[in-house]
């Protein structure tokens, strides 16, 4: 059998490589290899042929939007910082990638660290900042090491430091390690953490462009956003703007995972249909199961059900159905999963990661989780579902930062598309997917049972009664739901749960 070129494989056919263009292609620890793929040409072009305003304009015209979750137009963000006069301004790179299962920023930092260094210098030139900080999770030791090498090499080659390319522009970079708090991915919390304080968000306004790091005007962008910048400067705004949809340009990297055949990082042009991602790039759902939903945007996002499989993925389409691209997590869920349980999983994460500063997030998310637990344990009522919705709306509307404001999203989205599952949990005390243990009961199918007694002998609590060669029955009150009977009855498959 002939080996197909990479670009012809199903996984890669519909992908493009922009942010990830150098990942796996060059040696990330060699600045020379980066030079060989036009490295630092964009910085040279910006510093020697363009004014800071022109740089900002190109980024604006490209239509690049923040890849960290907010989707704010990057050029506009840069221009806000540029217009504020100050004795010192900063550029900050948010590399505190925290969504469970997401690793696009990690790949960029480990595979192409110079792209970020170069982009930050360009951003510094455009906004009038002479110092930059990369805030990267300590859990990414390879990324940290490669960034350190990249910065040192760039300094050695005069690409960071004083008077870069003889242009009179100075720019220096520092690395700060995060200590593992999810909330530090929120821009004001991240800056508070860099300043050496407990990583907690602060109220906005004032926005970072006015009063950011150390009280100075600051531009903060995430890794993937920066990774796109050198190409935009080098090839022009039109090159980037040619891809994508009307309001979402370029490409986006997603971390495809969950119940899907092909998992991994996927970079697709904005506007690609979800169906293409799941069934063509992702190769469909394994084990012959049915697609149920895809969770996007991690713990801050929502889920997209099968009815929206033909949605064209971009910022606005997703937010129109209560979802978000977020940083790019994409977890596929098949029909064996309970959506109440899924919502609980993500909420559990945010409860754990709430910084504890504002009351709605600190207490409210915990109360939501407790209500979900009650529902999952089979003790929920319709009133609880109502309370859950009431709380979710409240937390969304009154929390201090993005973490709290989006924390209820997994619950709201599942309530929106899978309300019937919640209702089944609280009214029928049943988990339709058969996931929530408390509501499961084991039964013996009288049609299939041959009275072999294997199940009764396997039962640790003597919950199964029945004579030899007669149909057996399980006493639900005695049953502890250990599943031993089901295992014992493999041959006849008479034990089932419902």
């Amino acid at each position: 059998m002939a080996v197909k070129p990479l670009a012809e494989t199903d996984f890669y056919k519909k992908q493009i490589r922009l942010a990830l263009r150098n990942c796996g292609v060059i040696d990330p620890e060699s600045i020379e290899e980066y030079f060989a793929v036009d490295g630092y040409q964009a910085l040279a072009k910006a510093l020697t042929q363009m004014t800071p305003e022109e740089v900002t304009q190109v980024v604006k015209d490209s239509g690049l939007r923040g890849r960290g979750g907010g989707g704010f137009p990057t050029g506009l963000k840069w221009s806000f910082t540029a217009q504020n006069d100050a004795d010192q301004k900063y550029v900050v790179c948010n590399a505190d990638e925290g969504d469970p299962g997401a690793f696009m920023d990690r790949s960029v930092l480990e595979g192409d660290p110079h792209a970020v260094v170069e982009a930050m210098a360009i951003c510094g030139y455009s906004t009038g900042a002479t110092e930059g900080y990369i805030y990267v999770r300590a859990e990414y030791p390879i990324a940290v090491k490669r960034l350190e090498i990249a910065i040192a090499d760039a300094k050695k080659h005069g690409l960071l430091g004083k008077n870069i390319f003889g242009s009179g522009f100075d720019f220096d970079l520092h690395i700060r390690l995060g200590a593992g708090a999810f909330v530090c991915g929120e821009e004001t919390a991240l800056m508070t953490s860099i300043e050496g304080n407990r990583g907690e968000p602060r109220p906005r306004p004032p926005y970072p462009a006015v009063k950011g790091l150390f009280g100075k005007p600051t531009t903060e962008c995430n890794v993937e956003t920066f990774a796109n910048v050198p190409q935009i400067i080098l090839k022009g705004a039109e090159f980037f703007a040619a891809m994508g949809t009307e309001k979402s340009k370029g490409s986006k990297v997603f971390a495809l995972g969950g119940n899907i055949n092909n998992t991994g990082l996927v970079e697709i042009p904005m506007g690609t249909k979800l169906r293409e991602v799941i069934y063509e790039i992702g190769g469909g759902i394994p084990d012959g199961r049915k697609f149920k939903a895809v969770q996007t945007g991690g713990p801050s996002g929502g889920c997209i059900p099968a009815e929206h499989l033909d949605i064209e993925i971009d910022y606005d389409n997703l937010s129109a159905i209560g979802c978000m691209i977020g940083s790019g997590g994409m977890i596929v869920i098949d029909d064996s999963k309970c959506m109440v349980d899924i919502a609980r999983f993500f909420l559990d994460f945010t409860v754990d990661e709430s910084c504890g500063k504002c009351s709605p997030c600190r207490i409210g998310t915990k109360r939501m989780l407790e209500i979900l637990d009650k529902i999952i344990e089979g003790n929920g009522t319709l009133g609880d579902v109502q309370k859950l919705e009431e709380l979710a709306a409240h937390i969304k509307d009154s929390s201090l930062c993005g973490l709290g404001q989006t924390a209820p999203n997994p619950v709201l989205a599942t309530l929106r598309f899978f309300r019937d599952e919640y209702i089944a949990h609280v009214t029928e005390k049943k988990c339709p997917a058969g996931v929530c243990k408390a509501m499961l009961n084991y039964y013996i199918d009288p049609e299939k049972c041959i009275g072999c007694t294997l199940c009764a002998r396997a039962c640790p609590t003597n919950a199964i009664s029945g004579k030899v060669k007669e149909v057996h029955t399980i006493d639900i009150d005695k049953c502890i739901k250990c599943g031993a009977c089901e295992t014992a009855c493999k041959k006849h498959n008479a034990v089932y749960k419902a």
Binding site: A181, R198, E200, R202, P203, P205, V351, D352, E353, S354, C355, G356, K357, C358, S359, P360, R362, I363, G364, K366, R367, E370, E390, L391, H394, K396, D397, S398, S399, L400, Q405
Partner: protein, 580 residues
């Protein structure tokens, strides 16, 4: 002044540029409720009570920190806003120790007040986990009960403002709680016991260590002679606890109440303040004439003393060796007064009524027992005294005005202003200038060092000498002044430092005023005004002119700085580590 035009609840208002929605609303007479907000101290937008609707905004907006913009339309009292506040209160209540009856702040609790206003009557609307914390009663001066804490973090901000920052948020999310680093007890960290955290707490999470039982026991002990003396600022604040106007001088009623509580003698700490001036002015003159350590810094504020011992131990020689008025009063009561009246000092139980929680710590310091007995047995805060008066069934507002007992009831205008920042300096100058020059001052008002500014400075001609003086209140200001001394750049000869911003009138033991008062009323200024008015009305306004002070020196001490004065009225300080 540049203004911004906006509408709040459809009413137009012009607010100064940079004002917050909260401030703009007040211009229309609208009060937006807050829990965490303290102007310029705690602007963190954490409690989410002050949420309002702003036309066009994506979500509710935090009124306490959100600046107004031209054309903005704000709604402060819509159904949505009220529901949001109600839910937040219900959430806060779900983690709160709701046994209000046994809470020290019941009736004066900002959370309770809001719950009442918003009709939060179902206190179990949200049930679930409720972490129970153990008390921290390790410190001499206060108790922390995190079960009543709502995490508004006003205490943390107040502590940081006091340049100590010994408390902060520990753990995260639902487990977040206020504590010291590594969960150390308050007694084991470099807390200066100023009590600013307590007066800024909206609930009953923080309170002074209650010593009223010990005082009542002494009063009820027939073998004890219980003597009380009251600090200068108490007369300006005690009335607040009984609903009287801010800044009402209640000296006469206070004396009457103390008699009715059963104290055997009611003295005035002001007398001892005059005595402090005699000793301190003398010490200053001696330091200046004999090349002693300068600048000399006042020693009346025990919070400041502890701060210096922890954070600037190398500056200890700059502090005057004079005991504070509270301790001087106790020492004189148990020596001169006891001898005069043939009382065994062992039988005297001396109580100081103080604006201050650090005074509780001060009574337990070393070198504060000149007669072999503690100079002062118990220091009570203004709040504790108010509670004693209340529980004794004394109708404070209707009490007649009574006079202090002698021999320590006579005082001067110089001593009554001790309670306000700048007061000790002014009183010292009145005496020092006249002593050094031998001439009578034409004006006794040193207005340059009055007012609530954090750092004030002036230069006065004292004989041939230009004396540079500085007055600092609040420990963040103290730090600035001390850093200069440390760097050898200080131009001052004499410095007054008070631990609490504004001085004793704003002490950590004073009646608690809600944030809404602290944010919008010049509390320090209003309370201080009562003291300056008392000063102006006094027939004698210079410590050295106090006839009873003269008598004390003639009869007993000899002269300021004498051996006996040193033994009774001066003390020593000890460097303390920041971490134990």
């Amino acid at each position: 002044m540049e203004t911004v035009n906006l509408k709040i609840n459809n009413m137009p208002v012009a607010a100064p540029k940079g004002a917050t929605i909260l401030e703009a609303a007040r211009l229309l007479g609208l009060e937006i409720p807050t829990l965490c907000y303290l102007k310029e101290v705690n602007e963190i937008g954490a409690c989410r009570i002050c949420m309002v609707e702003v036309k066009g905004a994506r979500s509710l907006v935090t009124a306490c920190v959100y600046p107004v913009t031209e054309g903005m339309e704000v709604f402060t009292n819509t159904e949505k806003v009220r529901q949001s506040r109600k839910l937040t209160l219900e959430l806060i209540l779900s983690t709160h120790d709701r046994r209000c009856l046994s809470c020290i702040r019941s009736g004066n609790c900002e959370l309770q007040k809001l719950c009442k206003e918003f009709g939060v009557d179902d206190e179990t609307h949200f049930e679930g986990e409720n972490i129970r914390y153990s008390f921290d009663d390790s410190a001499a001066h206060m108790v922390r009960d995190n079960n009543r804490c709502i995490l508004c973090r006003r205490c943390i901000a107040a502590c940081k403002k006091q340049d100590c920052a010994v408390i902060g948020a520990n753990a995260r999310g639902f487990n977040t709680h206020v504590g010291s680093a590594f969960e150390r007890d308050l007694a084991d960290v470099s807390c200066v016991s100023c009590g600013q955290c307590i007066v800024n707490c909206p609930t009953g999470a923080l309170c002074e260590k209650d010593d009223t039982d010990k005082v009542l026991a002494a009063i009820n002990d027939p073998d004890k002679i219980v003597v009380v003396h009251t600090a200068p600022s108490i007369r300006a604040t005690l009335g607040e606890a009984f609903g009287m106007h801010l800044g009402t001088n209640v000296e006469g009623k206070m004396v009457a109440a103390l008699r009715r509580l059963g104290f055997d003698k009611v003295f005035d700490t002001d007398f001892a303040a005059d005595l402090t001036i005699m000793e301190e002015a003398n010490e200053f003159i001696e330091r200046v004439s004999n090349g002693g350590v300068l600048p000399m810094i006042t020693s009346c504020s025990p919070g400041w003393i502890k701060y210096c011992e922890h954070y600037f131990p190398e500056q200890i020689p700059n502090i005057s060796t004079c005991k504070s008025p509270q301790q001087m009063a106790g020492a004189i009561i148990k020596s001169w007064y006891a001898e005069k009246n043939n009382i065994d000092p062992a039988k005297i139980f001396c109580v100081g009524i103080m604006p201050c929680t650090a005074k509780k710590f001060e009574t337990k310091r070393d070198y504060q027992n000149a007669t072999g007995y503690p100079d002062v047995d118990i220091a009570l805060t203004t709040r504790e005294l108010a509670r004693m008066i209340e529980s004794a069934g004394i109708y404070f507002k209707h009490l007649p005005d009574e006079k202090f007992d002698n021999p320590m009831g006579d005082s001067t205008g110089a001593s009554v202003i001790f309670g306000a920042t700048g007061g000790v300096m002014e009183a010292t100058l009145r005496t020092a200038v006249e002593t050094l020059t031998g001439e009578e001052l034409r004006s006794l008002d040193f207005t340059e060092i009055r007012g609530t500014k954090g750092i004030k400075e002036a230069t006065y001609k004292v004989g041939d000498l230009d004396v540079n003086v500085c007055v600092a209140s609040g420990l963040e200001n103290a730090r600035k002044v001390l850093e200069e001394i440390k760097a050898g750049k200080s131009k001052y000869h004499f410095i007054e430092i008070m631990a609490c911003p504004g001085g004793c009138v704003n002490g950590g033991g004073q009646p608690v005023q809600h944030a809404v008062v602290r944010n919008f009323v010049d509390l320090k200024g209003v309370r201080a005004k009562a003291l300056y008015e008392a000063d102006a009305a006094m027939p004698i306004r210079k410590s050295h002119a106090n006839p009873m002070i003269k008598k004390l020196y003639e009869e007993y001490l000899g002269e300021p700085g004498s051996h006996k004065a040193h033994k009774l009225l001066h003390t020593k300080y000890t460097p303390r580590p920041k971490y134990q």
